[in-house]
């Protein structure tokens, strides 16, 4: 049995230690927010947070986790179960078309805004670059991230402030 810390809870799972985290989340824990896209760390649909950093869960063997904390899309909801800030912003901007990439987009954006809720537009774009969207709703996704930053008391700046 392997112990996993996911969304604030400890789970005991009986899987091979080289099993990718994504398979355990979906097949053992019924956390289906993270999606299987390419399985090669190229698309970002499987993005989850590992100690606050976005990682491709399709390439994280559970043996690598140790005591580190995993957060998935489900874990970003408010304590009362209502959707988290980013989910609300993505819905308000209607940022999903087919929706397959959106869980990964939200989770990756969460990592940035938790660290810095006043990023520049360039920082947002560079940060989201590893996650692909084949429908082409990038402009709406960017709008949703800007909205979320404002909801979190910050905002996305057009350009970096000049250093003195």
């Amino acid at each position: 049995m392997i112990a996993l810390f996911v969304n604030g809870q400890v789970h005991q799972v009986d899987v091979d230690p080289d099993t990718p985290l994504l398979y355990v989340l979906r097949n053992e824990l019924a956390l289906n927010g993270a999606k299987f896209g390419c399985g090669l760390g190229q698309c970002g649909a499987c993005t989850v947070l590992l100690d606050g950093k976005p990682v491709f869960s399709c390439l994280v063997p559970v043996a690598a986790l140790g005591n580190r904390k995993v957060r998935t899309l489900e874990g970003l909801a408010s304590p009362d179960g209502s959707p988290g800030v980013l989910s609300v912003a993505f819905e308000a901007e209607q940022a999903a078309q087919c929706g397959y990439c959106i869980a990964g987009m939200i989770v990756r954006a969460q990592a940035l805004l938790e660290r810095n809720n006043r990023p520049t537009e360039d920082e947002v774009r560079a940060h989201l670059a590893p996650n692909l969207c084949r429908c082409g709703t990038h402009m709406r996704i960017l709008r949703a991230v800007r909205r979320a930053a404002e909801m979190m008391g910050g905002g996305v700046r057009a350009v970096a402030e000049q250093k003195p």
């Binding site: 230690p17 080289d18 090669l40 760390g41 190229q42 590992l50 390439l59 063997p61 590893p130």
Partner: protein
């Protein structure tokens, strides 16, 4: 008295030496010009200059912000302190817009700014001095026709005595061999052309040749391999650790596309170099390939046929069982024999130089930072694992790869390589 005479003699001697040193170290400013007074330039000449600027990868150091090309500001860490690349756009105030051709040539050939100040050899004029008259003319034409972008790079202040620029004159006396290289009649015209480009504007030795205590390339160990910005630039001579020979065609493909299907993809700073070379004229890149294939023709790999890829899976599994599990879960979908990526002609790990080199730096950094897609072929990029694996896991995985895909002795310094890469990451 004898003592007084001796003291006077010493004082006079010192004064004479100082005067000599001053005469040697001091160079006059060259009168500024109005940027509008240069040109117009022939379009073919400007195109030649653009080709040479890519070959020399000027932007690699002089572009910090892609939106402000050539406007400088990129820091280069050296053992003597941090050097900031300057603005080389034709802005009159902060760039080189006021530089006449003579000032440009003096900077490229002798490392002296228009003001007369000595430039630090982080600007590789020890190579650029070998550029031909025609190359300097073309580069000047290209630079002076770029959009001027105002902006002063942070001032370079080196540590201690190295902040005193006239000392650079003494460095040049020891290490600057001015002017184009003589033709070697024993070699082909293409080899000579490749050498002129590689030793000149392309300044390959700047990364691949180890440096002495004064930061100058150690010519006795030319292309022996060296550390640069945390990466190991591998040997490009008879000491090349490659397991398969670097032929002209393979080098040409590698330099041009960033991937040699017989070896590996370009990593670290070489990724940017191959991206720049992918737009350089074919025959220039081919000549450079001819030159380095000759330099590596006595390397161990050149003495036998291409080996099959080494794969000691059972030995590695036994030596590093935890890493074998990590490899199966994180790496195997791309790198296991038979994986889809391998079916697309990507080389097995056993053929790459990083695992064959005599230190672990490049392997550790590639795992941590990943690799961008090569410039040429489309296909997967290598994702970064810095946030997936902890330091111990990184070290174990690195040791596993070395054991499984080579028959060389284990690296003793893996822990240091991981610690250095983490420290570099935090900056």
């Amino acid at each position: 008295m004898g003592g007084t005479r001796l003291a006077t003699g010493i004082a006079l001697g010192c004064a004479a030496l100082l005067a000599l040193a001053f005469a040697f170290a001091w160079h006059p400013a060259i009168e500024p010009i109005a940027p509008s007074s240069v040109g117009p330039f022939d379009r073919a000449l400007v195109a030649d200059g653009e080709n040479l600027a890519r070959l020399g990868n000027c932007a690699g150091c002089h572009t910090e912000d892609p939106a402000r090309p050539l406007a400088g500001g990129r820091p280069l860490a050296t053992p003597f302190g941090t050097v900031f690349a300057t603005n080389i756009t034709p802005d009159a105030e902060t760039g080189i817009g006021a530089w006449p051709r003579s000032a440009f040539d003096r900077a490229m050939r002798r490392g002296i700014a228009r003001s007369g100040a000595h430039l630090y050899p982080a600007f590789p004029y020890d190579h650029f001095t070998h550029a031909s008259e025609g190359q300097l003319q073309a580069l000047y034409a290209w630079l002076m026709t770029r959009p001027p972008i105002p902006g002063r790079a942070p001032a370079t202040r080196l540590d201690g005595v190295f902040s005193f620029r006239p000392l650079v004159a003494a460095w040049k006396l020891l290490h600057l061999d001015e002017g184009p290289l003589p033709i070697d009649p024993a070699q082909s015209p293409e080899w000579n052309r490749g050498r002129a480009l590689a030793e000149g504007l392309a300044h390959c030795g700047g990364c691949h040749t180890p440096r002495n205590s004064l930061g100058a390339e150690d010519k006795a160990r030319a292309y022996d391999g060296a550390m640069v910005e945390g990466w190991y630039a591998p040997p490009l001579n008879a000491r090349s650790p490659a397991v398969r020979p670097w032929t002209v065609d393979r080098l040409h493909a590698y330099l041009r596309t960033g991937l040699s299907p017989a070896h590996a993809a370009a990593a670290g700073p070489m990724g940017g170099v191959t991206r720049a070379l992918s737009e350089v004229r074919e025959d220039d890149v081919h000549a450079i390939a001819v030159y380095f294939a000759a330099l590596m023709s006595q390397a161990p790999a050149a003495r036998h046929d291409d080996p099959e890829p080494m794969d000691r899976q059972a030995v590695a599994q036994q030596a590093h069982p935890e890493a074998a599990t990590l490899f199966a879960g994180a790496c195997a979908v791309c790198h296991e024999p038979g994986a889809p990526m391998m079916q697309q002609g990507r080389p097995p790990l056993a053929w790459g130089t990083p695992l064959q080199a005599d230190n672990a730096h490049d392997t550790v950094r590639i795992i941590m930072k990943g690799l961008a897609s090569p410039a040429g072929p489309t296909g997967p990029a290598m994702p970064a694992f810095a946030d997936v694996l902890d330091d111990r896991q990184l070290g174990e995985l690195t040791a596993y790869l070395r054991t499984r895909f080579t028959d060389k002795s284990p690296w003793p310094d893996i822990g240091d390589a991981v610690a250095q890469a983490r420290a570099g990451e935090a900056k």
